[in-house]
């Protein structure tokens, strides 16, 4: 039937990477099995401390061929434990993509049979979580130079959540207007959604139940 990567090879590849990464200082990697659709997925889930993030990133890129940065999520946990006031979750994938070779003046597309991939070629998902303690200006090392895909993701995370990335060149607002006031990062939890419960939005057309702080504002 359609050829897809087998679960067992992904699991073994994930375990190999997890054990290799756990040997680094400040890093704790494990394989977490997720049920998704008809077949389970095994992803490498890594907990890392802020200081060892850069070293881990370089190791992942160089030794484990993690070539793709998918997304960077910043989360604000104001009511979390004191060590985990901020969290940065990186989502990577190892794709195993290389440029197709040129043979006889023609490019030969690389058509891999997914069922027969082994070792470092097995595609993997990696999730790295970095917990930051309570602070006014959370910072993490930037990996913009390792994966260019992280560039705009870091800009967005700073823009919306407020987590700064040290060493990031050209940090600017990307989703909010350029003139947004400094220090305004909407996804932080102190910014409440107005009319937080949706019932209030629709059932109160004339605004009798509006909060006093919203007086004079248009919804």
């Amino acid at each position: 039937m359609g050829k897809v990567v087998s679960t067992s090879s992904q699991k073994s590849a994930a375990e190999a990477m997890a054990s290799a990464l756990s040997s680094m200082e400040g890093v704790d990697a494990a394989v977490s099995e997720r049920k998704s659709g008809t077949s389970p997925r095994n992803i490498v889930s890594v907990d890392c401390s802020g200081e060892s993030w850069r070293a881990l990133a370089e190791c992942m890129r160089v030794e484990h061929d993690v070539d793709y940065c998918s997304m960077i999520t910043g989360i604000h946990w104001p009511e979390g434990s004191p060590d985990k006031n901020w969290e940065v979750v990186y989502h990577f994938m190892r794709m195993g993509v290389t440029d197709p070779p040129v043979i006889d003046g023609m490019v030969q597309p690389i058509v891999k049979d997914p069922t027969s991939l082994e070792g470092k070629e097995v595609p993997l998902e990696i999730e790295v979580r970095i917990a930051l303690p309570e602070t006014r200006d959370p910072k993490v090392a930037s990996v913009q130079d390792i994966w260019v895909g992280a560039d705009w993701n870091e800009k967005e995370t700073w823009d919306l959540v407020g987590i700064d990335f040290e060493g990031h060149v050209g940090m600017r607002r990307v989703l909010q207007p350029h003139e947004t006031p400094v220090g305004f990062h909407p996804l932080q939890k102190q910014h409440k959604l107005r009319y937080h419960d949706f019932e209030e939005m629709y059932d109160d057309a004339q605004g009798f139940l509006r909060k006093p702080s919203d007086a004079g504002k248009i919804k």
Binding site: V89, I110, V111, P114, L175
Partner: protein
């Protein structure tokens, strides 16, 4: 003539959406680019923190309005990962049919917009007409023409309606015929070939490092597809292969990116036909909404500390949702919903691809990457 910055957008017929592309030109040659996004930033991620898991599906349709089903399914798979839900197989087949029909519709919209970018006005009408056929089918499934709100946590909203299989087969096979006409208008036209070949080169390794996936990556000669590499749903049960294009020596150019999407339309059409044959209990049986054959049981709360994510092959690349549990309503709402949009990452990359080419190549290159600003700005 000195170098000058031209601002293409935000109101511009070419830009496929609401964004600004500032280009620095030296005569007719592009020297530098700077994309400017965020004009339709609606704050979906923040809104999701105050909505039930079922309510968020409606927002996800509107992320990329041209390809609504792929986004709502992408979200639903992430929720099912978070809540650890089992989905019945018939529902997976129905979801596959909806997603692949949506992929065809999205690529048709792209082709219909790409033609006028290059100058061919007729193909827009032709593609939109075939897209109407797909939208008819999706309307039968989902109830409306564009934003379907089709999947539910654990399954789908409704089963295939009466006679859907027969109509879908007729329309999809008619559509397969019509693709040949588009190819006649594009591939057999020397002008199209000289406009799109040799323009906008991109290589796979560079693309992956920049975060570009999907048809743009497969145009580079690599058969990486999330449906096969991180398998989900029932793609493994259908006989198909992700299409790959043989690029030119310097990399994938606009022509390759165009060709790969035409082939993807064919592949998706074949998948739909095959899925209709292989769906368990047959395509003509009908189950009421809520029947366990099409909707599995799902918890409604995700306790704090859990998280769920899912990588999904959207029409434009890899889309992903990351949901952190433990939000409002004692876990009924996500604490954080984070959305990965392929186009948010591809647009800066496409802007880099434009440097060195002429101003007239800007629509060709930008159009070939298939931007959709709804998902970019969220």
């Amino acid at each position: 003539m000195a170098e000058m910055w031209i601002s293409m957008g935000p109101q511009h017929p070419m830009t496929h959406g609401l964004w600004t592309l500032k280009v620095k030109v030296d005569g007719e040659t592009v020297v530098d680019t700077e994309p400017d996004l965020g004009y339709i930033h609606r704050g979906v991620e923040k809104i999701c923190e105050a909505r039930d898991f079922t309510q968020i599906t409606t927002y996800c349709d509107r992320l990329c309005y041209a390809s609504a089903n792929t986004w709502s399914h992408s979200y639903i798979y992430a929720v099912e990962d978070l809540l650890e839900v089992e989905v019945p197989e018939r529902a997976e087949y129905i979801r596959l049919i909806a997603v692949e029909l949506q992929r065809i519709a999205s690529h048709l919209m792209w082709l219909g917009a790409y033609g006028p970018d290059i100058g061919n006005l007729s193909v827009m009408v032709w593609c939109l007409r075939e897209r109407e056929m797909m939208m008819d089918l999706l309307q039968e499934l989902g109830g409306s023409r564009m934003h379907y709100n089709f999947p539910r946590v654990g399954g789908v909203k409704r089963d295939l309606p009466h006679g859907f299989a027969q109509r879908a087969r007729a329309k999809v096979s008619l559509f397969l015929n019509r693709i040949q006409e588009y190819e006649a208008l594009f591939d057999e036209s020397t002008i199209f070939l000289i406009r799109t070949q040799g323009v906008g080169y991109s290589k796979p390794e560079e693309m992956v490092n920049h975060g570009v996936t999907g048809p743009n990556l497969r145009a580079g000669g690599v058969n990486y597809d999330i449906r096969t590499s991180h398998p989900y749903s029932v793609y493994s049960e259908l006989d198909w292969e992700p299409p790959v294009e043989r690029p030119s020596i310097k990399g994938a150019d606009c022509y390759d990116r165009y060709r790969i999407r035409v082939e993807e339309m064919r592949v998706s059409a074949m998948m739909v036909l095959e899925a209709l044959d292989k769906i368990p209990r047959g395509a003509d049986t009908y189950h009421e909404p809520g029947d366990p054959a099409i909707l599995g049981k799902a918890p409604s709360r995700a306790p704090e500390g859990t998280s769920g994510s899912h990588h999904f092959e959207d029409s434009r690349g890899e889309s992903m949702f990351y949901l952190a549990g433990g939000g409002e309503g004692r876990g009924k709402m996500p604490y954080r919903a984070s959305i990965r949009s392929p186009m948010f990452i591809t647009i800066p990359y496409a802007s880099k691809c434009m440097v060195g080419y002429k101003v007239a190549d800007i629509p060709a290159i930008m159009g070939s990457f298939d931007p959709c600003i709804g998902e970019t700005d969220r």
